[in-house]
């Protein structure tokens, strides 16, 4: 091969390729005719197209985690060392046992898959095994993808999709008009149709003109992305673009991402997405050697590859003739041009008649192969038949404008009866379709249209030199009433004309049903080449015009998109942003076992060598009961509320009395939703005359911030109050246990505040706020300090705690302690369905009302206690652990009466206890139930009791 500089392998054999060639071009160049086997019948398939519409030549490219299955050989550019494999074959591509399916095709017609669902389920279990093996595409790689993917935003005045002549003219005009321009092109070089045509624009060849246009756009500040496919068009003129920075299976540049997902927000979108050529429907139209005419031209002119030496061109339009000229110019023998029109009349046809055998009212009806490659074309010419020896059949059945993005944007389609094609109609967003995507076919007109679209209407002419002339608008081929053998419509899914007929006979009338019954239009190509022929056949059966037959939905993505492109950087175990505590390193130094809690990572416990997590947490909890423990509570939601109306705002948010709090005092409180159910709980503290601190749960922090913002800005914009979220600003350490007050006093030099009092102090040289509140049931304090100073506070507290026989404890110990004390937690006991009365807090609600949820909680359904799930305690009968989430039933298999919300080992005792939400729970005190988990096969007998297991009088934390 002249000019070859690259080597690649296909099914283990090494081949040479020239830079810029697609894998399909390189395989054709090396004489490889069979590239794949078809989905259902395992028929040998070659390359049919030259772009992303390729339905047949699907291969797996790359190795290990980089392997990309179902890659179109037409959409991967050869790089040194590319490894490609055929797929869905056994034992080999040349001899595939699965081809027996073709012989048994009468037994597996369209829809047979659905019929296997009938009958006993065990029969399907047998069928499934065979069906999955016999049909399919390439397997997904088992290894993790070693590469990274990127997300990037972009904004522009004008986004042009497609760098063909229309798109280039539009982008050039917009750039020169001073617009922010972005031009995206899925190919590796600009030019589109110009790459396959022998034309000159303004005195230079098409590809050169395209390259110059891109250079001018870039020089004018425009952004041009190649190998970038606009995959989706969303509301608000948002277009998603996936850019390949490395080819499938290719190792990207050092540390570079392999693909980038662009989220482009545009003032205006110009869709210059071109048109896709349609194949003809005839028997054996899928043999290797049968190709789309424009694709053949692209291989000849762009890639320097002549896909056959003896060619027949079959066309329904003038454009097909261009391929005959291209082949002849490249040295191939054009056996005949089969024109389905009875009397074509144009300059290009006249030129062709002087050079080739042009047969009118002629069309292919069948083919024969030698080996697996096309050898003979059987044509119907007028009323007779001719057999034409040929190894290449270039077919053109008309064109389908690519209107996918236009439709995704909400646009309508109009019907072009002459072209027998849908073209973009009314646009719903700031979008316009230009060029072949809008049904255009004349190059000079397309360039002028593109320029006008980009410039806002300013006209400009382009000097186009096309030796073959303009030609007449492309008409579509008629779908034959009958076909010999298998006439494929959807090549990827092996759907034939007779399959569509069968679906019709079996009662499938809607195009959506037809699609699902036959699998037409599914797969990686989504019917880009086949849908129009199928619609035409359906319309024939219905006796209506094609537009009346209906359309399926144009869903994004336009081309298959790697899932990694959607994920971007959000991969790995956590797959999201991680919120780190200010004291992360301090906890790490103590050997913390980490627990993801939403975005946060918090210490679960601090196990000693050889100690289990369970044992460690129980030890830590007992340490708190016996002496002293400290836990990082920096994740609590905290808000500073200040101003003359601070109390008024808090009384709207909180269902308890806040306004009467004295300075230096605090109160446990609860917040309701508008429907009267509990949203969150926390504490409110009056720090100064007009300044409060409100705390609420970690899990509900963002929700509470939103709630307070809504209250402040929507419900009470008249209040003179400032609400500042200080969750990030303030870190906090809770100190709990019988020794807590003494240790704190020793560090601050001042007496610790009484329960539910607060004070300011200096600890380790840091100004701190101390709140005396207990979650554990012991005398306890929350010590708040600015985040950047918290480490010093922690270090001082930890040193003193250890000296007092205490230490740090984690989330599990904190949970054990609060369960024993009967405290609820948001997300477990407060699950969005409980009222304050349900969880025993009804008595706290402010009788005068005026808070969010006051009206809601008076609704009969909530106010009536009977039948509601209420908070209760559970004591395990026996020594088993209590399974969280287990149903509470009177006996196994009975309707659940409630569920275990939290379980914990006794800290001040032995055995297991738990909290539960139980229907009419308080009336069931003393009742024995079964905690039953069918999924875990667990059954634990429990006794219902009061939810407070420890120090009911509160003597432990009061002074």
């Amino acid at each position: 091969m002249s000019g070859a500089a690259l080597t690649f392998t296909f099914d283990g054999k090494t081949y040479a390729a020239r830079p810029g060639q697609t894998l399909a071009a390189a395989l054709l160049d090396n004489g490889v005719a069979v590239v794949a086997r078809s989905f259902k019948y395992h028929r040998p398939r070659g390359v049919m197209a030259a772009g992303v519409e390729e339905p047949s030549a699907l291969v797996t490219v790359g190795e290990g985690g980089r392997a990309e299955p179902n890659t179109r050989a037409t959409d991967v550019f050869v790089y040194q060392g590319l490894v490609a494999r055929s797929q869905n074959v056994w034992p080999s591509l040349a001899f595939d046992v699965g081809a027996i399916n073709g012989l048994a095709s009468r037994l597996i017609p369209a829809g047979f898959y659905y019929k296997t669902f009938f009958g006993p389920p065990r029969r399907w279990m047998v069928y499934e095994r065979f069906i999955r093996k016999a049909a399919g595409l390439g397997p997904a790689p088992a290894d993790a993808d070693p590469d990274s993917f990127d997300h990037r935003a972009a904004f522009c005045d004008v986004l042009v999709v497609g760098a063909g002549p229309a798109g280039l003219a539009a982008a050039l005009a917009a750039t020169q008009a001073g617009q922010r321009v972005m031009l995206v092109e899925q190919d590796s070089v600009p030019g589109g149709a110009l790459l396959r045509e022998d034309v000159r624009i303004d005195g230079v060849g098409g590809p050169e003109w395209a390259a110059q246009a891109v250079a001018q756009i870039r020089a004018g500040g425009g952004r041009v992305l190649l190998r970038a496919t606009a995959t989706g068009y969303w509301d608000g003129n948002l277009v998603s673009v996936v850019q390949r920075l490395a080819e499938p299976g290719q190792v990207p540049a050092a540390a570079a991402p392999v693909q980038r997902l662009w989220k482009v927000r545009c003032g205006k979108v110009l869709l210059a997405t071109g048109a896709i050529e349609r194949p003809l429907a005839f028997g054996g139209n899928d043999r290797p050697g049968v190709m789309l005419a424009q694709a053949v031209r692209a291989y000849v002119r762009r890639h320097g590859v002549v896909p056959g030496r003896r060619a027949v061109v079959a066309t329904s339009n003038d454009d097909g003739y261009r391929t005959a000229f291209a082949l002849a110019d490249a040295g191939a023998q054009v056996v005949a041009v089969l024109d389905s029109r009875a009397a074509p009349d144009s300059a290009i046809v006249d030129q062709a008649r002087g050079r080739f055998a042009v047969l009118t009212d002629a069309r292919p009806i069948d083919t024969r192969a030698r080996g697996q490659r096309l050898a003979t074309v059987i044509a119907q010419v007028g009323g007779g038949e001719q057999r034409l020896a040929a190894d290449l059949l270039a077919m053109s059945g008309g064109f389908t404008p690519v209107a996918h993005l236009h439709k995704q944007a909400g646009g309508d389609l109009a019907w072009d009866a002459a072209a027998q094609a849908f073209v973009p109609g009314t646009a719903r967003q700031a979008q316009a379709s230009i060029g072949a995507a809008a049904g255009g076919h004349d190059l000079a007109a397309i360039l002028a249209q593109g320029w006008a679209a980009g410039s806002g209407g300013a006209p400009r002419g382009f000097a186009v030199d096309d030796p073959l002339g303009m030609g007449t608008p492309a008409g579509a081929a008629e779908v034959p009433q009958a076909a010999r053998g298998k006439a494929f419509v959807d090549f990827q899914n092996d759907v034939t004309l007779s399959d569509i007929d069968l679906a019709w006979r079996e009662g499938y009338r809607s195009v959506e049903h037809l699609k699902r019954y036959t699998t037409l239009g599914m797969g990686t190509d989504q019917g880009k080449t086949g849908n129009m022929a199928a619609l035409a056949r359906l319309a024939q059966a219905q006796g209506v015009d094609i537009p009346q037959a209906g359309l399926t939905t144009f869903r994004p993505p336009y081309t298959p998109t790697t899932l990694g492109a959607f994920a971007g950087a959000a991969v790995g175990e956590h797959a999201g942003p991680v919120r780190r505590l200010r004291l992360h390193q301090a906890h790490d130094d103590l050997g913390a076992a980490w627990q993801p809690v939403g975005y946060w990572f918090r210490p679960r416990s601090y196990p000693r060598a050889g100690e289990s997590l369970g044992a460690a947490s129980l030890r830590e909890a007992r340490m708190v009961r016996q002496s002293l423990g400290m836990v990082d509570v920096s994740t609590l939601a905290t808000f500073e509320v200040s101003g003359p109306d601070a109390a008024a705002l808090l009384e709207m948010a909180c269902a308890t009395t806040i306004g009467r709090l004295g300075v230096g005092r605090g109160r446990y409180t609860v917040m309701l939703r508008e429907d009267g159910l509990v949203m969150d709980d926390g504490t409110a503290w009056r720090l100064a005359e007009q300044r409060y601190l409100l705390t609420s749960s970690t899990g509900g922090a963002d929700r509470m911030a939103q709630h307070l913002s809504w209250l402040r800005n929507v419900m009470a914009p008249h209040l003179k109050v400032s609400v500042v979220n200080v969750q990030e600003h303030l870190g906090a350490v809770a100190l709990a246990g019988p020794q807590a007050a003494r240790v704190l006093a020793g560090l601050t030099g001042a007496e610790a505040p009484a329960h539910m009092r607060c004070t300011r102090a200096v600890l380790a040289g840091v100004d701190v706020l101390i709140l005396a509140a207990s979650y554990s049931g012991e005398r306890a304090f929350e010590v708040y300090a600015p985040g950047h100073q918290l480490r010093a506070v922690w270090n001082a507290l930890h040193g003193a705690a250890v000296a007092a026989g205490g230490g740090a404890y984690g989330l599990d110990a904190m949970d054990h302690l609060r369960v024993e004390k009967g405290h609820v937690v948001i997300g477990a006991e407060v699950d969005g369905r409980v009222s304050a009365h349900d969880i025993g807090l009804g008595g706290m609600l402010r009788k005068s009302g005026g808070f969010v949820g006051w009206q809601g909680q008076q609704r009969l359904a909530i106010a009536t206690a009977s039948g509601r799930r209420q908070l209760v305690g559970l004591t395990v009968i026996g020594g088993q652990a209590l399974p969280e989430g287990a149903m509470l039933v009177t006996q196994e298999g009975q309707e659940p009466l409630g569920h275990v919300t939290t379980a914990a080992p006794r800290v001040a005792g032995e055995g297991w206890i738990g909290l539960a939400l139980l229907s009419d729970g308080r009336a069931r005190d003393g009742q024995e139930l079964l905690a039953w988990s069918a999924t875990r096969n667990l059954r634990v007998p429990v006794r219902v009791c009061d939810p407070v297991f420890y120090d009911r009088e509160g003597a432990r934390y009061r002074d």
Binding site: D150, R152, R580
Partner: protein
């Protein structure tokens, strides 16, 4: 960090932001006194005023972030009086200074804000989300943008920025 010879050339440094205060005014009557205390008028929405020693940035309708070693907190409190409130928030923030012509391109990664818009010039501010993190941006100079980042999320975002900044990027 500086990555030379590549598309993205940027220096990224991390600084303390402990001095940041949230200043909320619920009526405009306090604005003149606050301006006197600061030494400059409070900026309109989406703008900043002042310099590295004393700066005010407006991201919300009624809230300014005030920062700088030269801020006299007592004078500010007195100026605000009953017209608003001042609340320290800097303990929860990290200031990331992005220096280099490519800071705009860096901020486009994982983001939704048009940092490449030339109108987003020195003196402009914006609150946006980058890589799921709420970030406040202040364009200090043509080749410098400061970002205030929540402390808990700063490690991840800064690591991501370093990763993006270090990459061999494709020419746009």
């Amino acid at each position: 960090m500086t990555v030379k010879g590549r598309v993205i050339v940027i220096e990224l440094s991390v600084h303390d932001a402990a001095d940041v205060l949230a200043l909320e005014l619920w009526d405009t009557a306090g604005a003149p006194a606050v301006a006197q205390a600061l030494g400059f008028a409070l900026p309109p929405a989406g703008r900043s005023a002042g310099d590295d020693q004393r700066r005010a940035m407006r991201f919300e309708p009624t809230v300014w972030l005030v920062e700088g070693a030269a801020i006299d907190r007592a004078a500010l409190d007195a100026a605000v009086a009953d017209h608003g409130a001042v609340t320290p928030i800097g303990g929860g923030l990290v200031r990331v200074r992005l220096v280099g012509a490519a800071w705009r391109g860096l901020l486009m990664h994982d983001g939704v804000f048009d940092a490449e818009n030339p109108a987003f010039a020195p003196g402009c501010t914006a609150a946006t989300v980058i890589a799921h993190v709420a970030v406040r941006l202040n364009v200090v100079a043509p080749d410098r943008c400061d970002a205030l980042v929540p402390a808990s999320l700063a490690d991840g975002l800064i690591a991501r920025w370093r990763e993006v900044a270090a990459r061999v990027d494709t020419p746009a």
